[in-house]
Structure formats: C-alpha cells, structure tokens
Symmetry: C2
C-alpha cells in the first residue's frame, strides 16, 4: 500500500475523538497533545550522520509538532535500537543536549536489539501540555499566512553536508533544528490554523489551504531568507520555499493580528482552491515540485 | 552498550517525575499512564508469522502494561513500516480485531518506508486512564503473591507453532494473548505492587521482589496450569513458570485480600532477598534459567 492508502485504511478503524481523523500532526488526549515520529537510517538520515545529531533531530522533529500546537513539552518516550558502544554514547550525548535545551524530560521508552546489519529505526513520542492546539484545517478566507524565522536554511545545510564543507550556521539548521516552541506559545492562541513546516514551505502551505478548503497566495518576495542563506545560495526564494526540514511554524491569522518580531506575513487565504505564487505582485508559475511530497 | 548500561545512562538524563526512575512498565503523566513497546522482525516475531497476529501481539503487549496499572485503555499510537499490500492488509485486519476486542481506539501514529530487505520494526504507544497504578516496587513483607489466569500456555503455544501443529487454544495464547484488563481493574486498587508477566513467572516475580527489597517464595504446586497445558506439556509447573509471553498479572496483596475467582495465590513476600521455590512445602532448587533474562 502507499502511505495515503494505509492512512485511509486506518481511518476505517475505531478512532479516538482527539485523533482529528488522523489529519493533523498531533492528537488531543485529555489536556495533552501527543505526536510520534519515526526516523529510519538510509531514509530519514544517513549511516554516517553524527549520532548526536540524529538524536537531536529525532526529538526536535516531534517537539516541532508540539510547537505547532502551542504546547509546552511535558516529555518524550524513546524507542531505541542498541547500536554499539560508540554510537550509543554519541546518541545519548545529543539526546541529553536536546532535552536540556528544550527543557523536556524523558518519560519512558523501550530498547531493542536489531538483527545484524539492519538499518536503525528510532521513534520518539512527544507529549505536550497547555496547548491552544489550533488545527491545520482552521484557516478562514481573508486570513493572512505567517511564517516564523527564515526559510531554506536547512535545505542549504543539506547541500553543505553533501558537499562536505560550507557555512556552519546552515549545517546546524539542517542537523540540529530548533523547534519554535516559544513562537508557538505566542501564535497558537491567535491562530485559526497552525502547523510546522517540515516538507517545504510551499507544500505545507498548500496542505493547510487544502485542509481548510481554501486557496492560498504566497508572495515569494516576502519569504524571509537569512543572510547566511543569501550568501550561500543566492536570492531566489523558490529554492528555499521548496526545501524541507525548516521546522518553522506556519499559521493563518485574522487580518488584525500582527505578531511582528515573531513571524513574517507572506500570504493570504481566499475562497477557492490551490496555491498561487506572486513576485512583486505579479503571478509566478508553480514549480514542478512543491516539497517532499512522497516522503513517508 | 547492553540494555542495562543504556538504561542506566538514560537515568542520568532529565527524567519526568512520572517516569518512576525508568524502573516500571508504564509512566504516569497527568491522569494518564503511558507505555511503549517495539517489536522487531527476526527478534520478537518471525518473518512467516501471520501479520494479523503480529498486529494483535504488538497492541496486546502494550495493553498488558496498562492492565498491570489497572488502567482503562484511552487509545494507542502506531509507528508502522509500509510492508507491501498483502502484509499491510493482513496487519490491518489483526489491528482492527484487537482494537475492537479491547475497546481501544487509534489516537495517531507515523508511517515510514524501510530500505529494501530491512526487518520490520513496529512500535505501539498505549495511553490508559483511571489507573490506580500500583508500582512494581511496592510489595511489603507478609504480602501474598497472586497471579491471574493460567501460566505456560503461551510457552506451550510457541512449541506448537514451531512443531507446526498442536492444540489451537495454546497456539492462540501465544499468537493472540489477551491482556488482563478486567482483572487489572479489580486487582489494582487492592495491590501493593503489580506488573504483567511477560518474560516468565519466576523471573518477573523475582523482579518484583528485588524492586521491593524483599524475598519471595513461590509454591510451584499452586501455580495454575490449564487443562490444555497439562494435556500437551505435562504436569511440571517449572517449565510453565519459566516460559515467556503469558501476559497475566502478578500482584502483591495484603494477607486479608482474597480476590478468589480473579487470581490464584502462589506465594509470599518476606524480609530478605531472592527467590525461593517449594513443592508440597519442600524446598526446590532454582532452575538455571528463570525466564527471558536478556531479552532487550
């Protein structure tokens, strides 16, 4: 089955009311939000990626889903395959650093042994509290689209990793993303819809619009790019907006809300369907690829 | 690292108060209990095991940890590697059956793709509510040791599976274990300590005693064996008491509590340390192997 077919089949099982039809990045259970992510060696990370960075990213990816709900991290559970002393130790160091930076304790987990030579498969389940918990599907016509931070740094960081050298700041954006928990706390109570940007700005904005039964127009010239990105990759926002792993937050805010300093306004929702792009107010054709569409 | 070394290292990370020092089978988060289990193809199940049975066991193993806390299942999250249409469909059928039987909805999850040929790695995280949540370490000197159901059926069922034929009821105990959720609800409010029996009655009883800083004596002639077990494997309770995958509940009750009909009294806790066995009140030497000691 494809991922879409499998999820469609899961929707025919008994679903929890807080599962939101399996259409969101986190579920609501009591006063908590819950999300889980699995990373696979050779698919989501490379065998020679530093183990500490794998640990960081594994946790950060789940905390980013909590950030998208405006939650405070309550803690995480870890499912870990024992991987040899050197790898295990480096993984633990990165795990410790990430948990400390984001003030997120370990709740529990499970350790397993894998057959020799099997790729590592790691899972983190994150629980958050006190979340305003806006959904992905709540945008309204007339809402503005806002995004936190800068876009494209992680994508450029992947290119740096592949090239073997380049700006450290971009590499860090790729290897040690920083979930926008503080911004999530500020934006969630204001937002009609919110989600994190994991697969690319354009595809994730399109998904928010589609889930909300709306069209969205993005002004490419408004997409925030870092100085490091511009120096390394140039001024074209289209490459940045179709790269993955940003882990910024994307939200739909009523026109009167202007959380300047925490996010940048880059677009508008309207009745209709689909994604439109503009540059200096002129229409721009969509690129062939909006982001990581088929990533499972 | 060994599993014990890795868990010792995890204990030096920031821990959630409800993690109970990572020494229990489930953590407490708000009004909930949370547990997670990973099953690996070639380690915890075989490539030719029926996929529906793998799904059932994956969920049942986690629900058994909830039963050990006396919890009502709130729901589960599933981390699933897409495995081809036939396997996926059979897995979904078993998942549906297990969720329906135990009245447990799906909360969420994550699907991934594995590299070609990689062993399947599956995770379920279960959340329970309304738990009295006795811990493993709470037994007191003078408490009696009680166990639900019968012991050894799943171990005999594994032998049936390996032989390719034998009593269906034993095979079902191995392939589709039934977490003792109802018994858990009754026993948890009475128990000083409780846990599920997953690695073998003797080793798990020894673990409860060790966690409680006590000795435990088990009367082997009191260990409940099913008629099917006796007919297939004979009357020796030692083989049954060292086999795994029972998913019964083991609890320490004050001497005055007698939940007859829900459990069987098989032993006594006392000051001291270690496990002693008796048969018809005479001491019996410990077997070399108490259960699955090194299972990760």
């Amino acid at each position: 089955m494809t991922e879409a077919e499998f999820i469609a089949a899961l929707r025919r099982l008994p679903l929890h009311a807080g599962a939101l039809g399996l259409g969101d990045d986190a579920a609501r259970v009591g006063g908590f939000v819950v999300t889980t992510d699995t990373l696979v060696e050779g698919v989501h990370f490379l065998s020679d990626d530093p183990p500490g960075d794998v640990a960081w990213k594994l946790v950060a990816v789940s905390l980013s889903d909590l950030a998208g709900k405006g939650a405070v991290p309550e803690g995480v559970l870890l499912n870990y395959p024992l991987s040899g002393r050197t790898w295990d130790r480096a993984f633990l160091a990165g795990l410790n650093a990430c948990l400390a930076v984001f003030d997120c304790p370990l709740i529990g987990g499970d350790t397993v042994s894998l057959p020799a030579g099997a790729p590592r498969v790691l899972t983190v389940t994150a629980i958050g509290r006190d979340a305003a918990a806006p959904v992905r599907a709540g945008a309204q016509a007339g809402d503005r689209l806002w995004v936190t931070g800068t876009i494209g740094d992680a994508g450029a960081g992947l290119a740096v990793a592949q090239a073997g050298s380049g700006p450290e700041t971009l590499l860090a954006a790729y290897r040690r993303p920083r979930p926008r928990l503080a911004e999530g706390r500020i934006l969630a109570p204001l937002a009609h819809a919110m989600m994190d940007v994991s697969d690319g700005l354009l595809i994730d904005a399109w998904r928010m619009a589609a889930a909300s039964n709306l069209a969205v127009t993005i002004a490419l010239d408004a997409v925030p790019l870092s100085a490091a990105y511009r120096a390394y990759a140039g001024d074209d926002p289209l490459a940045a907006a179709t790269a993955g792993d940003d882990y910024q937050l994307l939200c739909a805010l009523p026109p009167g809300e202007r959380p300047t300093g925490h996010a940048t306004c880059i677009g508008t929702f309207a009745a209709g369907a689909g994604l439109q792009l503009t540059r200096h107010s002129n229409p721009v054709p969509l690129p062939e690829r909006l982001g990581f569409e088929h990533r499972a």
